[in-house]
Symmetry: C2
């Protein structure tokens, strides 16, 4: 199976690495910026092009560019590519219809947080596929080369999964930031929280988050909550968050 | 060093286990409920009493009962205990003054989330100590028997650490609950989020949470945020949280 990748960002980078690790042949990398395209190509030992008209026919063309560039980019693709290749994008939010004009359109969405320079283990990352059955069947073979966690989600289901991913990743990360930043500002060592954070996540493997919930809001301990809100006086952002999340916990358990 | 434990709840239970594992001699367990006291005593091979007047003189008496019971309980302690023992409580929020009348009052606060039936590895749990220097010195010997992570925090500092612990544990756990519960309600498999959650936490060891932040709010991608808010229509709790946390992230990065 021959695959080419469009894009030079985080997702393109990590896919190139995953394919290289799994001995999937990456035929070409496309990028507008030559230096960046060359860098990604070097990872997976492929060639690179900066002109869409130089893209060869492959089994799968993966479009890993920013959400809002997908539609415009697809319009520039040569007709033979649109007709003969599976063209799949990697966005969590854009519908499959963003690949308008492609005969074999599909989705290949890895649900994970990618950070430049931080290798990830793809073997367990959910790869969310969508498309016509024949297309998905072929894409499935490719996905299986890099992950053991393949999912079939409609556009609507994938959007919902993406929204939940924002909550479980972006929002928890922000809470970690706020908690540690506050200790930092108070000249207390934020690493005091690290074992607790590790345990918080370890517990998720052993209990449901409903069971794992502890703390003043879970107990509806309004005295402690009110003391905490007093302590957060002047720290408006955190105070509002504390109030809203505590209210939300109380609603669930009351 | 001889230690006795007051209480039969989660903290008492896990301390008894930690001492048993570290071959610290637990002399007595005190509990009002005989069956519960006997259960804890069995963990650490100690005896138990249900009458405070039967408490023997030990090096350290650890009071691991609910915050609001500490003051009243201390009043019932025999005078000889108050004079001769180090009396330390394990609360994150109550001041050392809650041990009024004790000659050698102190704090022995393990900053961790304890769940019944779920063993924890104490070796890395921060044990927060407070008290007069001679008292803390002795307590430090005890703390070192079960943990390599000893901290010295004033009442005010400990309260701040506890507040941050609520944010980093209780609140992140609630977000995990909300994200998974939503998928559940939509009849989507919530385990799709597990690898992402693991990676979210793994990243904390490699990056600061400030650097690790990704997502629509970090990019100030108001289009995606507004789409997500539309999707959350009718899911009022989550919608409010989404708005407040996104605003908070935008404020940090703008």
């Amino acid at each position: 199976m021959k695959v080419s990748i469009v894009g030079t960002g985080n997702v393109a980078h990590h896919l190139a690495q995953a394919f290289a690790d799994s001995e999937v042949t990456v035929h070409q990398i496309y990028g507008r910026d030559e230096i960046e395209a060359e860098q990604i190509a070097a990872i997976c030992n492929s060639t690179y092009v900066t002109d869409v008209n130089l893209l060869d026919i492959v089994d799968v063309l993966l479009i890993a560019i920013s959400d809002d560039s997908i539609r415009a980019f697809v319009k520039t693709l040569p007709q033979k590519i649109k007709e003969e290749c599976i063209v799949a994008h990697t966005s969590g939010t854009k519908p499959i219809g963003a690949l308008k004009g492609c005969e074999h359109k599909a989705i290949f969405y890895p649900l994970q947080t990618f950070t430049q320079g931080l290798d990830v283990d793809f073997s367990n990352i959910p790869i969310c596929l969508n498309g016509k059955s024949k297309t998905v069947k072929k894409l499935n073979l490719l996905a299986q080369m890099i992950s053991g966690n393949i999912r079939y989600l409609s556009d609507e289901e994938r959007k919902q999964a993406h929204l939940s991913a924002v909550i479980i990743n972006n929002f928890t990360n922000h809470l970690i930031y706020l908690a540690k930043d506050r200790l930092d500002r108070l000249e207390l060592d934020p690493t005091i929280l690290d074992p607790l954070l590790q345990e918080t996540i370890r517990k998720q493997k052993l209990l449901t988050p409903y069971e794992a919930q502890t703390g003043p809001a879970r107990r509806e301990d309004v005295k402690t909550i009110s003391k905490h809100l007093d302590m957060l006086e002047g720290d408006d952002q955190l105070k509002e968050l504390y109030q809203v999340i505590s209210d939300s916990i109380i609603k669930i358990y009351s």
